[in-house]
Amino acid sequence: MASRADGPGAGNAGGPGTGGGGAGRPEAAGLSGGIRDAGLSGDVRGAGLSGDVRNAGLSGGVRVEGLAVRQPATGRTLLSGVSFEVAPGESVAIVGESGSGKSLTVRAMLGLLPRGLEATGRVDVDGVRVDDDPRTRARQRGGVVSLLMQDPFTLLNPLRRVGRQIADGLPKGADPKVEVPRLLAEVGLPEDVAGRHPFQLSGGMRQRVGLAAALAGGPRVLVADEPTTALDATTQREVLALVRRIQRERDMAFVLITHDLRLAFSTCDRVVVMYAGRIMETGGAAAVRNEQLHPYTRALLAAEPPADRRLAVIPAVPGSVPAHDAVADRCAFAERCSLAVAECLAVGPVPKAVRPGRESACLRATELPAQPAPAPGVTLPFRGLADAVLDVRDLRRTFAGAGRPALAGVSLSIASGEVVGVVGESGSGKTTLARCVAGLERPDAGTILLDGVDCSDYGRLSRTAVRQARRTAQMIFQDPYSTLNPARTIGAALAEALRADGRPAASGDVARLLESVGLGRDMAGMRPAGLSGGERQRVAIARAVAGEPRLLICDEPVSALDVSVQAQILGLLAELRERLSMAMLFITHDLAVVRQIADRLYVLEAGRCVETGSADQVLDAPAHPYTRALLASVPDGSAGWLG
């Protein structure tokens, strides 16, 4: 919480040009009625503008000009030429994949860069130039500017009561007994939450507490760094709707960092698309949604799968995000761009106004082909009925100390070659189900028939039966960063997997396996540390399919990956499934993803299956209210999505 560090600082501010501590109190008072007092706001801003340090019209807003971040120790540049403006009361989303520099941009803006990094360029916050003045900037944080962080589970001090943590951010002199309940009410939490400890709250409630704490200083600018990525889809929508409502009521400038373009369109007035440490495109949310003026934005949007239809092929962007310095003298996207011409590789373009309110860094922005129509959906191909490779009956599992069972009687079957999706939010039991089937978890009751063999308890199986079960079912995991042994080379890991599955494991076989998942054979000598997330997940898939299993259990295999990489991995899984006629148990929280790959769906809620059917049937005509709620929480990019 940025707001905590500066409690006294904000109070001491007082002088001209720092409306922080002073503005906070009347602000909060004005909010007691739920609606911001327009007269008061004018008052505060008028007072600020009289100071000569203010820039006209930027009081309460943010302006970043020519921002660059370097690492002096290595001479590397991580981002450069970043300029944007957020007017008071305006919401702007900074969108990009990992490595795009979106988080670094706001960290540089707030003066919160990690050690060893240096920022240059001009930053004005609330009309005060702060890039050359760390003391003003520190005073502003928590007062004029507040930061809402990503992970609600680490954001709060686990040992302190929630109310006191919110009170930390209050301006000097404010009465916590009055202000804390008011802030809690503003974020939609009951008053008694103040007396609770963070572990007694759900993720969504914690993020609301984080928001209340961020609002405590009465900020003019609120920055949120992926505030809902760690939350469930339905909670994400609630929290975002809340943030946007409060932002409008308080008339704050709002900067949202996100990797999700549709989320950005739905939440913010304007979007700034970043890639490899540069700005690619900026414009109004609706305008960019209707027509993208940079091929990268087009590719990014196309790679986000829709939930309302199944695409024949998800248009993946080949390759991965380059380092800033590797593309310093050319268009950063040129190498992955199908429209690139020789000139794109020769000059490093800067964003230029293409039309009013729209900027694009594409040299060919004015001659881009017409916006392609959204790809039509395809219906599921009918797959003949085959014998079941997996048959789960009435599976139950309760973890020690848990209030309710993780699995409360789930039955499921997968036919040979069929892809079955299991969807649900965290706590629905979907991962427990996958781990039981894989034999990593022992169910309390119920049967698991894997290829006709009872595998409910791996401990009771004979050695040959266990080996048979392991060769029938393999699993890939969510986190690409811990799924590979960091101490072993890729080649050694794959050779071992081949041997374990009774296949020849000469270097030629390893190379073939690598190529089958779209990786170069020279990767065999590398260790996981040198690989990107997508490459690691490919290696993990190669390891799992080394012995051509009949069933592949996928536990959220793409949810930690960037959108463009996600599309690649989904394409790879679809291709492997055809080639190896492999069945899949596909666990995910993401309905748009599961729509693209699954033939049938099971919807889990709190350890029970509430709905099942073909993917088209469940997602086009959901029967259960829970399924409908899940479906409504998938961002569609429209301004009305948040309700």
Binding site: Q71, Y481, A529
Partner: protein
């Protein structure tokens, strides 16, 4: 969850800081003394009773002890006794620690229970007191002192290794190896161990320093090397009555023990960071 490209600042290749450079120099000097002492100071124990105890002066930079032996030469010769013993203790206890801690952490169940109760038992005994009693009852001797210390040190290593294994045990890469039906032994040695090796290595250094001091204490109490032998602990003990005549007879071996132990800790920490960073993405 999206990860910002983390660890930017860490990727820079740093040269060892000055403290590590100094510590390395100390260790190199000690190692040279340990290996080459018989050639560097062939007659360190040669007595010159006519000279007797003298303060620092020409020919004897740190003076001589009551038997007229050069203190500096004794110091160099003493490394040959002090260092290999400590090395044996550190290596021995780490070997036991790995052999017991790896299965205890990975397999759990009764293996774990047995190993941990054994560790508890040894922990509950006051270490140095046990060493003194055992060495006293069995008549002392350097070999015995080393053996006793190995037994006393091993439970710590077992716990350290077990704890590190428990942390790795439920990582997806271990589960993936289990799903490939690899044997428990293979997963322990090929998959888990390389990832906990940095911790084990760091502990070797810590133990080495601790064993050096413990052995010196035992020798000081007359339960290690025989009286008169060149050994840092022993020299310190033998000369404590000479403190006022030539303080260097006591200060020099004491400094040698402290400097070596401190240098080992510094280098151990530094090596741990380097080894641990290698192969890790974030």
């Amino acid at each position: 969850m999206k990860h910002p490209r983390a660890g930017l600042a860490r990727e820079t290749r740093r040269r060892p800081p000055i403290s590590v450079a100094v510590a390395l120099a100390v260790l190199v000097a000690v190692a040279v003394a340990t290996v080459f002492a018989p050639w560097i100071v062939p007659d360190a124990t040669a007595q010159d009773l006519m000279l007797g105890i003298t303060g620092p002066g020409p020919g004897h930079p740190l003076g001589t002890d009551d038997l007229g032996r050069d203190v500096l030469e004794l110091l160099v010769a003493g490394a040959r006794t002090a260092v290999p013993g400590a090395l044996c203790v550190a290596a021995g206890s780490m070997l036991i620690g790995n052999l017991v801690g790896l299965p205890a952490g990975y397999l759990g169940g009764w293996v774990d229970a047995l190993a941990m109760r054994w560790a508890d038992l040894v922990f509950s005994l006051p270490a140095l007191l046990v060493a003194i009693v055992v060495a006293g009852v069995l008549g002392g001797g350097y070999g015995l002192a080393i053996a006793v210390l190995v037994v006393l040190f091993a439970p710590t290593d077992t716990r350290v290794v077990r704890g590190a294994v428990l942390e790795q045990r439920h990582r997806p890469y271990v589960e993936a190896a289990q799903l490939k039906n690899l044997s428990a032994w293979r997963i322990m040695t090929r998959h888990v161990w390389p990832n906990i090796a940095p911790v084990a290595l760091a502990n070797v250094f810590l133990n080495f320093a601790y064993a050096l001091v413990s052995l010196a204490s035992l020798s000081f109490l007359g339960l290690g090397v025989p009286a008169g032998s060149p050994d840092w602990g022993r020299t310190l003990s033998d000369n404590r009555t000479q403190f006022l005549t030539n303080p260097w007879t006591v200060i020099a071996p004491g400094l040698a023990i402290i400097a070596t132990a401190a240098a080992l800790n510094i280098v151990g920490d530094w090596l741990y960071e380097r080894v641990d960073r290698r192969g890790r993405a974030r």
